[in-house]
Subunit: 299 residues, 4 copies
């Protein structure tokens, strides 16, 4: 089976590697070809355009944002022009619901298969094939994607027949993460200003009610004010919460907490912290409380 | 060793039972004595006043709110009047930081021991001796309380030498729970209005990033809109978030998310939902989205 | 001097009428030509395309939203194709800062004049030539527009040399109006639930601190809960607050109050009140307080 | 007619002076008697206790906060002990609705008259007898107070028969002022960051929609970032918005905007700006936008 992977950032490269390991015939495309060389050395075919990478049975896109996906699909040498009717485009990027809707329409018009399958997981999880895949699409198309999901992730969730639903679920998940960060930020400002040991407080939080990894990871970063280097930047976090709010606007669902978080992340960015980890949102709560003067510094 | 327990609601009765089982000599007091009878039948001494229940080595208060604790401690026949200098008052109620400060002062002035030890856990957890105890106080006093914590809970956390710190940590924990409810409420309104199956969404949330019991419990209640009967009412939740905000005000720590949640819970109460489970806050997000007209109904 | 007016809604028709009265040679264009007939009867030339209406010395656009302006300017028979280098496009519509930037660039590339001149005022004010004009553009171009501003409004304000600045000021003004509505809505819910006479409260507000017409107009609508028919609909209000927030996002200026208002207006729309006057936002505060169950009804 | 005035701060002194000028027989009390000397020189009798100042036909309290009023009325030598049944206490201080309720009860129990009559206006307005008086109480009592209101203010508003209603209206008015400050703060951050001249923007705002003095006064302070010396401090502003929110809590009226403002003012205080004018709230919006690093500085 011939598979193409478009987008070879940290996530895309990990995906491509795992597909190679699993024995798929792989062709890859990346805007800057340098990133593709290691994969070529392992046997992947380097393509010059997204269109070339989409000539097989399945093409996977794993790109940074809406613009990159639009370009790869609708652009002059885009996927749309070469994907065969029976082939499937699996979109794993975190993109807007509106773009997922547009992709659904465009592929349908060409009777090409389309499955939205964004993931939860950082690059290390991707490398270890431990991603969680959130998928939606026509049942038969999703069924044909299962072997890929099994190679790439530890578990997959099918959330509907319309591809954009998977994107909405992914964006909702990211919103839930930001809500944990904001809540922890305010709580740490409160107990910290009272002189309670931050590590001890984290110990209570994760040892009682909140054993989930998210609380351990972000609680740890906030307790130690370790926001640099970023696992996921405030700028990307802002992009995602804005995508969630755009979907909410289209559906007419007011989300006051999501709006509060967008305001927080924008303030962090405005004050020079866009490159910090999104958990640096907690610096704003500290700043409000007079515990520090500015989110600009990095550690 | 002689122990008194003041307050025999669901939580206090469970505590008293476990102390009896562990072989402590127990005296109990409750404003309405009917609740004390079952304990008397098992060997507890029924006292007529808090003062009488405080003549032993340790007296534990497990009461509903500040007013009840103030009355039991500072009232005419209150604990303060009879507690021996070497004895310890363990305050397990969820009370304000300000009252904990006042108790600290009052007991210190009488050279009586005082340890704040609020708990995380519902009545069932109390009955099963699975509470989490958050304790603070003078180290030697806390040390002398350990045997009790071991009998009553699955784990204890010592968060400082000043008793009010334990109350602040407890209130911060409750704030974190409310933030989960609000976030889930908004997320369910979003995916629900998009037509995504609520149970399926919950499955994704708890199966990927948020395995903690809190997400399973409150996510389940919200997914099924099962807000009645209440595990913990919106009214009590509002009381606790107000206590957190009062502590934050005293420490000068602005908490926009906590303020948003207080506004939500007050709206729920204003619309007749004070008796519902505090997770019914999620009904407000649904109402905002036009998914239902009023939080008044219960199911 | 030859003037074109594109867009003959309530505002545009009033503008065109005043220009006719002032003796300008007028050509007009409206998508649905019926609205242009009354003007034709008074001597205006009816054009079949925006391009035709832009052949004179000045062309004024007064349209509903970004899409309408984009179409009239950049569309196949758009203004851009016929406007002479020395001529000026005066954009009086309430549009996004981003579109104003795009218009600035496009006209500059063609060495056509461009002045942004959005207005404050309702159709009655437009008819009475009592508009306030907020203008920005190259000084000489603005100077040449002054005769028009004098014919159309009671006063004009020049806020800079770059046209988009006028749009930002206009959107900021609309944001200030919504903030008055939200504040009054909460205040009326508070005093109303206390049993204070609403008319009496309005009397205090406008008779002491807040004599401005905005408070009298919106205070009156809210006091009497008279939200239908709309002077300016909640849907248009939402559009404008979103344009303000989009400009704020581009400039990296977090606006928590503007975000709160956007959330409120979206809730009003989601609950079926998009056609009501934007002051119906006050219904949400009443609903939160349990004073009414739904914003759906109109009076 | 014998009148007592309790509280001789800037406001109380102005009130006392105007009563002297109008020919009333005046007795005065102030905790620190130095402030009373100028009045004594003009013929006022200096009293040693509030009780002594309350032996006449009317006693007016004009004090800083709830605690001062409680002390003057309920304290050992308080007004309650000497006020004659037919005499009237006029409470002009900005106090909580709860304290106004307690005063209503206490005076009723002693068949003493009680009228709540808080005012809008700064000390200069008080000196010029230009206050606005917001009064509530039993109609006959209010009627007997009219001559005083006429001497002290430019206009009085009677808002009900129950004294606490006047306090609620006064607190609501102060909330409306803070909402103007927050809205202007965000708008100035937005247009300021875009490079629009602040004075010019203020000119537009006050020259079009918002001619009310409040917009001119606070708009001017914010445009020039002139927050010191304070006309009314952020700390007093915070106190008043908290009183409004406490009343709203008692009435079960959620007020998201009032909550946002309380959060803002608390942040300003936490960052060292409690002594600045409450319009310095606008510094927070500027800080959020990265326009300044801290509200600590004063000018």
């Amino acid at each position: 089976m011939q598979v193409g992977v478009i987008g070879l950032g940290a996530m895309g490269s990990a995906v491509a590697n795992n597909l190679l390991k699993a024995g798929f015939a792989l062709s890859v495309y990346n805007r800057s070809p340098a990133k593709a060389e290691a994969l070529a050395a392992k046997g992947a075919a380097l393509e010059k355009t997204p269109a070339e990478a989409a000539r097989g049975d399945v093409v996977i896109t794993m790109l940074a944002d809406d613009a990159a996906v639009e370009n790869a699909i609708f652009g002059p040498d885009g996927v749309l022009s070469t994907l065969r009717p029976s082939a499937i485009h699996i979109s794993m990027s975190t993109i807007s619901v509106a773009l997922a809707e547009r992709l659904t329409e465009a592929h349908r018009a060409k009777t090409q298969g389309f499955v939205s399958a964004p993931v939860f997981g950082r690059p290390e999880a991707a490398a270890a094939a431990k991603l969680y895949v959130i998928a939606a699409g026509a049942p038969d198309a999703v069924e044909r994607c299962r072997p890929f999901f099994e190679v790439l992730g530890q578990r997959s969730f099918i959330v509907g027949h319309e591809p954009p639903k998977a994107n909405l679920v992914k964006l909702s998940g990211n919103f839930l993460i930001t809500s944990v960060i904001e809540a922890l930020g305010e709580a740490f400002a409160l107990v910290g200003k009272a002189g309670i040991d931050r590590a001890q407080f984290l110990d209570v939080v994760t040892g009682t009610l909140f054993g989930a990894p998210i609380y351990k990871i972000y609680g740890g970063l906030i307790a130690e004010e370790r926001y640099h280097p970023a696992g996921f930047t405030a700028e990307l976090g802002y992009k995602d919460i804005r995508l969630a709010l755009a979907a909410a606007e289209a559906l007419k669902v007011p989300m006051p907490l999501a709006s509060l978080i967008a305001t927080r992340l924008l303030a962090l960015i405005a004050q020079g912290g866009g490159h910090l980890d999104w958990s640096a949102m907690a610096k704003l709560a500290a700043q409000d409380a007079g515990l520090e003067t500015t989110p600009r510094s990095s550690h």
